[in-house]
Symmetry: C2
Subunit: 479 residues, 2 copies
C-alpha cells in the first residue's frame, strides 16, 4: 500500500475525488503518532487541493471586489483588499477562517461547502481544514516574500543616491519621530509595557512605498521634485523599517532589550543588506551571463527566483527575516540590464500571490475589538486615535527637515510620507504572532494603517494644489 | 497563547527563526490527537517555510540544469527536467524525498541542511519534513493544473475544426491503436491483469502537444500542412487522453470495469467539456466586460484564475479531475480577445509552477527497477521494451489514416505524434497512486515516456528531410 500512498500526495487531484474510505485504514497501519500525521496529510490531499482551490477563489473574488470598490472612490486598492479580508474573515462572514482560536473548521463556510460536495467523514474535516489552512498560510508567506522582492526590484539605488541628503533626512526623521513619539507616548500616557510600546512605535515608522508611489502617479507628481524626494525617502524608509522590524522582532523573541543584541542585529542587518548588495552587484555580470547562456523557457525568472529564495533562506538562517533577503535580491537585480524584462515577469506572479497575503492578514484580524459599544474596547480605541495622530504628525514634520530647496512644498512631502501599508501590517502581524502585543493594540495598529492610508490620498491632492499656488507666488517673488 | 499562535501561521517567517522551545508545550496543550497536527503545523511554519524555500531552490536549479543540458543536445527541455528530478530524488542523490516509503526525513539532504542551520529538536524533524513535503506536493498539483490551463489556452478550437476530419482521424486512430495493442499485448503476452493492462494501454494514448509543438517550431514545420494536422490531432489527442484518463482513473478507483460507469464517465466528461465550453463561450463577452470594467492590477489574470480554479473545483466535485476543469477554462479563454495578453501573463506563472510538477514526478520515480543487473527487474524491462515498440508503431500508423491529401508526408505525421509527455506521466502517477499498477509497470511507463520523447525529435527531423525530397518528386510528376 505504501508505494501507492507516496504518489497520492503528488497527483491525488487526478486520482481520487472523495476516497474517505481509505481513512478507515488508519488505526491499523499506524505504528505511532507521527505517521498518522503523514497518512492523514497524504490521503486527504485531493480534498486539501479542493479546499485550497475554493479558498483561492474566495481570496481572489473578495480581493478584486474590495480593490475595485476602493479604486472607484479614489483609495488605494490594497486598502480594499485588506477590508475585504476582514469581511470574509473571522470578524464578519467566517468564510475564510484559520485554526488557532479554537476553530476546528466546522464554522468555515469553505469546509461546509466541501462537506456538501464531497463525502468527508466528520473526523477528517478538522485535519483537512488544518492542512488546507497551512497551505494557504504558506502561500500568503510566499506572497509577502514576492511582494518585497518586487518592491526591491522597483526601487533604484542610484536614483536614491541622487535625490540624496534630503531624502535621507526625511526618511530618518520620519522613522525617528513617530517611533519616539509613539513609544514614549504609549508608555507615559497609557502605561503600556516597554516591549509592546516599542513594537507599536516601530509599526509607525515605515511609509508604504507602493501606496505612496501609486498615489503620486495618479496625481501626476511622481517626477516632480517633491515626488522624487518622497519616493527616495520612502525607499530608504522601507529599508530602515525592515531593519527596525528585524530588531524589534528579535526583541520580542528574547523578551528584553539587550543592547548587545540590538547592536548585533543592526550590524548583521546592515551587513547582510550592504554585503548582499555589494557582493550581489559584483555578481550581476555572472547572473546576466548565466541567464544569457540559457536557452529554455523562464531562464530569467527562474534564475531570479533562485537568487531571491536563496537570499531569503540565508536571511532566515542568520536570524534575520526571509523578506529582508527577497528585498535585497530585488534591490540587486534592479541594477541588472534585464530589470524591465524581469519586472514584467514578476508582475503576474505578484498579482497572483500578493492578494493572498493581504486577504489573509485581513481575515485573521478580529476588528470586533474596535466596536465602541463594547465598554472594554474603549481603551483600544483611545490608543488607536493616539496612534493615528502620532502617525500623521510624525510624518508631516519630516517636510520641515528638507534643506537647501527653496520654494519646495514641505507640507506635500510630509503628507506623502503618511500612508503606512505592507510593512506596518507586517509589524502588527509579527507582534501579534509573537504574543507581545495584545489583541486591542494589534487592532489599533491595523486601524492606524487603514486610517493613514485613507487620509493620505485626498490630503496629498490638496497639498499639491496649494503647492502650485505657492510655487507660482515664490517664482513671482524670485522674478 | 492561542491568539499568538494563529498569526504564527501567517508570518512566522518574520517572527521566529528557530523557536523549537515552543515544542515542549505540546504534551500539555493537547486534548486529543487532531490538535497535535494543528499545533505542530502552526508552530513549525517558519521551518516549513525554510524547508520549502530550500526545496524550491533545489527544484529550480535541477530543472534548469536538466532542461538546458537536454536543450543543448536537441532534446525537449521537459525531458531534462524529468531526468533531473530522477537525479535529485529517491533514485539517486536523495536530495528531494517524500514521505510514504518509510521516509522520516532523516535521509533527506534538505532536512539535513535545515538541521545544520537551525535548532530543530529531533522529534520535530519528521513533522517539518512531512509538512513541507505536503506544501511542495500541493504546489506540484497547482503546477499541473496551471500547465493544463496553459495548454488549453494555447489550443485553438476553430483552427482545430479547420484542419478538421484528417486531424480527427489521426487523433482517434492514434488513441485507439496504441490502447488496443498495448492492453491486449500486455494481457496476452505478459498475463497482466485487466485493470493494470488498461491503465498502461491508456498511458500510451496521449501525444504531448507541448513537446510536439516545440519540436515542430524548432524545425520550422509548425505551419506546414503536416504540421497543422499534427497540431490539430495532438490537441484532440490531449482532450481524448484526458477523457480516457478520467475513465481509467475511475476504473482504478472502483476496481472493476463497469460499463454503466464507463458510459456515465464518458458522458459526464464529454458533457462537462462540451457544456463548459459551450456555456463558457457564451459567457466570454461577460468575462471581457468584467475585466474591461476593472481598473486594478491583475484584473485579467485574477479573473482568469478564478475561472480556471472554479472549473477545476467543479470538475473535481463531479467525479472528474481538476486538470480537466483548468484545461476547459483554457480552451474557453483561448476564444477571448484578450487571449494573447493572458498567455503572456500565464507564461511566468507556468514557468514558476510547472517545473515543480516535473521535478517532483521525477523525484518520486524509483528507476532502480530498470537496472538490468537485478534479476527481478528483467520482466519490467521486457515490458518497457514492448511498450516502447507499441508506442512508436501505434502512432506511426496514424499517418496512413490521412485521406484526401495527395503528396502528404504520412510518415512525418505519424512520427510527429510519437512523443508522449505530461499526460503519459500523469497516467503513470495516477496508476501508481491508486495502487493498481506495480512499481515495475509504473517505471516501464515512465521509461516509455522518456524514450518516445527521446526518439521523436531526431526521427521527425529525418522524416521531414525525406519529405521535402518526396514532395519535390511528386511535384515534378504533377508537372
Amino acid at each position: 500500500m505504501y508505494p501507492a500512498e507516496l504518489l497520492v500526495n503528488l497527483l491525488h487531484s487526478v486520482a481520487f475525488s472523495g476516497s474517505s474510505d481509505w481513512f478507515s485504514l488508519f488505526p491499523i497501519q499506524l505504528p505511532s503518532i507521527q505517521p498518522l500525521f503523514a497518512t492523514v496529510a497524504a490521503t486527504d490531499t485531493p480534498l486539501v487541493l479542493a479546499g485550497m482551490l475554493l479558498s483561492l477563489v474566495v481570496i481572489y473574488v473578495s480581493s478584486k471586489i474590495g480593490g475595485e470598490l476602493c479604486d472607484r472612490i479614489n483609495l488605494p486598492p490594497v486598502l480594499g483588499e485588506l477590508v475585504a479580508g476582514v469581511v470574509v474573515g473571522i470578524s464578519a462572514f467566517d468564510i475564510l477562517v484559520f485554526p488557532g482560536t479554537g476553530e476546528d473548521g466546522s464554522g468555515s463556510l469553505i469546509m461546509t461547502l466541501l462537506k456538501l460536495t464531497s463525502t468527508i467523514s466528520p473526523e477528517a474535516v478538522t485535519s483537512i481544514f488544518e492542512a488546507q489552512s497551512e497551505v494557504i498560510s504558506v502561500l500568503a508567506e510566499l506572497g509577502v516574500i514576492i511582494l518585497l522582492f518586487e518592491i526591491g526590484l522597483e526601487s533604484d539605488l542610484k536614483e536614491l543616491l541622487r535625490v540624496g541628503p534630503q531624502a535621507t533626512l526625511v526618511a530618518v526623521v520620519g522613522v525617528a519621530v513617530p517611533f519616539a513619539l509613539g513609544t514614549t507616548g504609549l508608555i507615559l500616557l497609557f502605561h503600556t509595557p516597554l516591549i509592546p510600546a516599542i513594537f507599536a512605535g516601530a509599526a509607525l515608522t515605515a511609509t508604504s512605498i507602493g501606496i505612496t508611489a501609486k498615489v503620486l502617479a495618479e496625481i501626476q507628481q511622481l517626477t516632480s521634485r517633491e515626488g522624487q524626494i518622497i519616493i527616495g525617502a520612502a525607499v530608504l524608509d522601507d529599508v530602515l523599517g525592515i531593519i527596525v522590524l528585524a530588531v524589534v522582532a528579535s526583541l520580542a523573541r528574547e523578551g528584553t532589550v539587550e543592547i548587545g543584541k540590538v547592536v548585533y542585529l543592526i550590524v548583521s542587518a546592515a551587513t547582510f543588506l550592504v554585503g548582499a548588495i555589494w557582493v550581489g552587484r559584483l555578481l550581476i555580470p555572472v547572473f546576466e551571463s548565466v541567464v544569457e547562456g540559457m536557452k529554455t523557457r523562464g531562464q530569467l525568472l527562474i534564475s531570479a527566483l533562485v537568487f531571491a529564495f536563496t537570499l531569503a533562506y540565508i536571511a532566515n538562517v542568520i536570524q534575520l527575516e526571509a523578506i529582508l533577503g527577497s528585498f535585497a535580491a530585488g534591490l540587486i537585480l534592479a541594477e541588472s540590464q534585464r530589470r524591465r524584462e524581469l519586472e514584467e515577469q514578476i508582475i503576474p506572479i505578484a498579482d497572483m500571490f500578493v492578494p493572498i497575503f493581504f486577504i489573509v492578514v485581513g481575515a485573521r484580524t478580529d476588528v470586533s475589538v474596535l466596536n465602541p459599544f463594547v465598554p472594554e474596547n474603549r481603551e483600544g480605541l483611545i490608543v488607536a486615535s493616539f496612534l493615528v495622530v502620532v502617525a500623521i504628525l510624525g510624518k508631516v514634520v519630516t517636510g520641515l527637515a528638507v534643506f537647501g530647496q527653496p520654494g519646495i512644498n514641505r507640507l506635500a512631502i510630509g503628507i506623502g510620507m503618511i500612508p503606512r501599508g505592507e510593512v506596518g501590517l507586517v509589524f502588527a502581524a509579527v507582534g501579534s504572532a509573537s504574543g507581545v502585543i495584545s489583541k486591542s493594540l494589534n487592532a489599533a495598529i491595523v486601524a492606524m494603517v487603514i486610517l493613514t492610508t485613507f487620509v493620505a490620498p485626498p490630503f496629498l491632492r490638496l497639498a499639491f494644489t496649494t503647492s502650485s499656488a505657492t510655487a507660482e507666488i515664490s517664482e513671482e517673488k524670485a522674478e
